[in-house]
Amino acid sequence: MNIDRNLIRLLKEEKRPFMVSGLAGAFSAGMLIGQAWSLSALLELVFRSSPEWPAILPSISAFALFSTLRLLLNQVGHQASRRGALGIRRVLSARLAGKVAELGPAFTGSEQSGRLVTTMLKGVESVDPYFSQYLPQLLLALVTPVVILAAVFPSDWIAGTILALSAPLIPAFMIVIGKRSRMATEKQWGTMSRMSGYFLDMLQGLTTLKLFAQEKARRDGIRDASENFRRSTMQVLKVAFLSSLALELVGTAGTALSAVSIGLRLASGAMPFRPALFILLLIPDFYLTLRQLGVRFHAGMEGVTASKEMHRILDLTTDGHDAGRSELGEAEAASRPLVIDRLGYTFPGAPHAALDGISCSIMPGKVTALTGPSGAGKSTLMNLMLRFIEPESGSILLGDTPITAYRTDTWYDRIAWVPQHPFLFNASIRENLLLARPRATEADIEEALLQAGLTDLVRSLPEGLDTMIGEQGSRLSGGEAQRLSLARAFLKDAPILLLDEPTSHTDPILEAKLRSAMEKLMRGRTVIMIAHRLESIRKADTILVLEDGRISQSGSHEKLAGAEGFYRRALFSSTEEAA
């Protein structure tokens, strides 16, 4: 009924706690019988003979013993399933994070990052009720009613039949009504999240509202929207709660029916007192277990929904990342050309190849600029060099060794990467820099800051290098973030530099600073840059023009400026951006 195959498969990770939980549940059902048996014995004794205290001592002790054992077993079962659920969450969260790490930037770039983070954290948390509540309750619902029926039938087959006939009604109702109410509930969750989205929207736009002096008017809007939401939700809930009403009514009807039938038969002398009491004591638990399943069912639903999303990610295949074993030495990386040999790549599901078998050589120690219209394959080429994606055909070689022959970490040791939108971690400036070279000295850091033109900025900050740069580097401007990324590259001091030039900056003074830092960084390295400014392109040793996944032109500025083609058109267009 609510069995998610992917989730059930996870049980393998934590078999033992769930077995313990199931066993504890079964034993606890046995104790329930014992408890009802001893209490009914006790009350019958009192009823029949009004005995002295010592006479009832055995049965009252038995009651105390059984009921205490039952509670302890419940506790053990509960604890075990909680432990199992936590264990599964541990495995799941490690797997998801590992998978995201393995899939890398090509994957995270194609996903909404907020949603991905939610899946990694909230998603994993939401499977907890499935394992800690729903599954144990499902086991209990399979065991307890059977045990109770087995105890009731020998005492009174009529009551047993009433129970046995009414019991299937509960899951049946649950399925019939559950489907409708689930749809209604899902719809309600939809409006709920829309409503809080609306409210968030108003709060975020509060400054704009104030600019138009509309802040008071929108207050009424919020009230109306919130009240409308309440009314429509209540309409939905009126129906949704009917399902639990129906379940409750089945339970109480069963209880009432059994009680009345037993009472009448007692009165006619067709039944002794003690089994009657015994059955009456067991009936509430009989229905409670089944009804609880309905409650837990809903608790587990969220986990099933989240599981779909998590397994969509977990089931993605990663590119054949069989990294080689060779070491890559510094001198080797600095002195050999990068040879691109019939390199091809097509994004999954895309009709055209992003790179259509391109070949070229990138000379060591020289600057190679990539240009071309957007979507021409520049970033794809960069991602292939970064080994964020693996080529579909062809290869990239360093000299005559394919770069896949090197261990990934040694390859990464030899390259510095300055992306267009560098990511700054939620940590201090120092930590963000040390990422590039964990063992850098204070002097190294000072030097890198100086080269990147950041010394003054860092000095002006109250805590200097230890200033935290808030959520997503929010305390730094775009230009500052870019220079910090350059400082990282200076610190890393790798022979190969992959650079995605920032698009023109709004501030001419900043722009000049950024450019001079970049030029310093490029000196003496093998540079492949995606260039956006004509000036950077003009200064490059070689220019590669990419169009539709092919190299349409290559050569120096002088050569390309003289030939017909994209480069010349771009050169004479009025906009600054050539790319």
């Binding site: 209490l39 006790l42 009823f47 009004s50 005995p51 205290w53 009832i56 009651f63 509670l71 302890l72 509960h78 909680r82 490690a94 994070a97 790490a101 930037p105 990052s113 989205g197 409210f199 929207d201 709060l203 736009g205 509060l206 400054t207 138009f212 802040e215 008071k216 207050r219 009230r223 919130s226 309440r230 809930l237 009403l245 409750e248 009432a256 009680a259 009345v260 037993i262 009472g263 009448l264 007692l266 009165a267 009657a276 009456l280 509430p284 970064l386 964020f388 970490d409 390259i415 990467w417 992306p419 971690f425 109250p462 808030g470 959520e471 001419p508 003074i509 267009s573 009025s574 906009t575």
Partner: protein, 572 residues
């Protein structure tokens, strides 16, 4: 505790609704008690081999309580959900009312979407304060009183024992669990926040982490926090389990106690076995009311934490207050700034350091300078988002602080880079600037702002944060709003920043046309067509370093001329 009472205070208008829901909740448990007691009574009477007629009242009781219980539960759920949603509406409005005077100065640090989102989530989670924190104890107390009433009418000794067991289940264990688990909910929330930051870093920075070879280390950090969180949750779950077990033990103790106390009464004949049996069943059923108390202590802690976060935001003193007797807005006059000084809180550098300039009525003045020079701060001071720490801004010779802030803003049309597009229809987004504007007016404004493509899409949804519109379209919506607002003063804060060259020309033309005869202050870094301004004010590090017409400044060959050349050289 203060936070707790402040939170509870917010729900006061719904006290009667809450009481009603709690009472219906009590009636539900009461019917459960009635159902079991009448069943027990019925079979005990039956066991005495009495005629069927003597059982009728028992049968009726079983039927009545049985049916009532289901319907009462249904009613209780409806009432309590309805109340919860009413509370949520109130919480939203209360928070909005409190936050509105603080924006934007006091919420600058909350601008990041994540923080505001957390606040909205906090409000959402507080809606349950009634159903999780207020209702269960009230219901439990009423049930306790009912049981006390029944049992004490027969035996005070038995009643005291039962009450003791109920207090253990309802007061002592929850409090002990709360004491042992204190800080756990808070620490779990702390771990979740830390995890959130690490996960965001990981998702968005996975490329950097990989190239720097730090991915494994980062994964290990993420996993370590998860581990800590799981351990805390394990502790919380254990205590919850113990609490459940203890209330179960208390229930059993109550049963044993009643039997022990009442046995002599049965022997002496002052109590029938029927009553005793019914009591045993009834007392057992009454413990249902204590189940929802389980874990409520941890909810309280989480709610208090959420409340603290909210109060922390809204307890700030507003930056701008409305004057008691606001001056009428002048029909004529220009803008004058005299010796303006301003520093953003927590920043060592002054954003404005003694800035003076005038914009005579009907003139266009540009403020230029590198980013961080303080240009946008002038705009923020002019619409009174902040107050200058020193100096004065006047309109028509009067201090702008003497006007009602809303009036002031209605008279200044401002286009900024940070224009917010609401997740509503394009019509609603435009009507913000002129409530009740006709379609004709809206379309005229759209056309003037170069948004011909949107003329027939007034009812289209603009998308969350305007995502259905391109960056250029969003910026032009802002300009359409400015046109609609039709105010005597215009402030353009990098109004054309996100537009491509051709569109920029078009939009600048539009602005020029619509600003005919108006007093305009334009903030820009883009030194295009500067000849159109009557005067240019050059800001650098919070000071005015040059002033004059474009030709004056170019002739002077100073900072402005350098900036102008730098910008025009990089372009082909």
């Amino acid at each position: 505790m203060k936070t707790f009472f402040r939170l509870i205070g917010l729900t006061r208008p719904f006290a009667w609704w809450m009481l009603l829901a709690a009472f219906v909740g009590f009636a539900t448990v009461g019917s459960g008690i009635g159902l079991l007691m009448s069943s027990a009574w019925l079979i005990s009477r039956g066991a005495m081999l009495l005629p069927v007629a003597a059982l009728q009242s028992g049968i009726a009781g079983v039927r009545l309580f049985g049916a009532a219980r289901g319907f009462l539960r249904y009613a209780e759920r409806l009432i309590s959900h309805n109340t919860t949603f009413r509370i949520l509406t109130r919480l939203r409005l209360w928070f909005y009312d409190a936050l509105e005077p603080l924006a934007p100065a006091r919420i600058a640090s909350f601008r990041s979407a994540d923080l505001l989102k957390r606040i909205v989530d906090d409000i959402q989670s507080l809606e349950n304060i009634y159903s999780r924190v207020v209702a269960p104890p009230v219901t439990a107390a009423m049930v306790t009183a009912l049981v006390w009433g029944i049992v004490s009418s027969l035996s005070t000794g038995a009643a005291i024992g039962v009450l003791g067991c109920q207090l253990i289940a309802g007061v002592f264990t929850p409090m002990a669990a709360a004491f042992l688990a204190r800080g756990t909910a808070r620490r779990i929330a702390g771990m979740q926040a830390e995890q959130q930051l690490l996960a965001v870093d990981m998702v968005q920075g996975v490329g950097e982490l990989r190239v720097f070879g730090m991915l494994d280390k980062h994964l290990a950090r993420l996993q370590a926090v998860e581990e800590k969180k799981l351990n805390l949750e394990k502790k919380a779950a254990f205590l919850e389990g113990v609490q459940e077990t203890c209330s179960g033990l208390a229930m059993n103790a109550a049963v044993v106690w009643i039997i022990w106390q009442m046995l002599p009464m049965v022997r002496s004949g002052s109590l029938t076995t029927i009553t005793l049996t019914a009591l045993v069943f009834g007392v057992t059923a009454s413990f249902e009311a204590f189940l929802p108390l389980n874990g409520s202590a941890q909810h309280i802690e989480a709610d208090i934490r959420a409340g603290e976060r909210l109060f922390e935001v809204i307890d700030a003193e507003p930056e701008v207050k409305t004057p008691e007797r606001p001056a009428p807005f002048p029909a004529e006059g220009g803008i004058e700034a005299r010796n303006l000084r301003f520093s953003y809180p927590g920043s060592g550098r002054p954003a404005l350091d003694g800035v003076s300039f005038t914009v005579p009525q009907g003139h266009r003045v540009a403020v230029v300078g590198p980013s961080g020079a303080g240009k946008s701060t002038i705009a923020a001071l002019l619409v009174r988002f902040w107050n200058p720490s020193d100096g004065i801004l006047t309109i028509g010779g009067r201090d702008i602080a003497s006007f009602e802030p809303e009036t002031l803003r209605r008279n200044i049309a401002m286009v900024s880079q940070r224009t917010w597009i609401f997740g509503q229809s394009i019509r609603e987004n435009l009507q913000l600037a002129r409530p009740g504007a006709t379609d004709l007016e809206l379309k005229a404004a759209l056309a003037a702002a170069g948004l011909q493509g949107l003329l027939d899409r007034l009812d289209d949804w603009a998308g969350q944060q305007g995502t259905n519109l391109s960056g250029g379209e969003r910026q032009r919506i802002a300009i359409a709003r400015m046109i609609l607002q039709d105010s005597p003063f215009m402030v353009l804060d990098e109004a054309t920043a996100n537009l491509d060259a051709i569109t920029e020309q078009e939009v600048l033309d539009t602005i020029e046309r619509t600003s005919e005869g108006k007093t305009v202050l334009a903030i820009t870094h883009n030194l295009h067509r500067m000849e159109r301004f009557h005067r240019i004010v050059v800001l650098h590090e919070g000071r005015v370093i040059e002033q004059g017409t474009h030709d004056d400044l170019m002739r002077a060959d100073g900072f402005y001329a350098g900036m102008w050349r730098l910008q025009h050289e990089t372009e082909v």
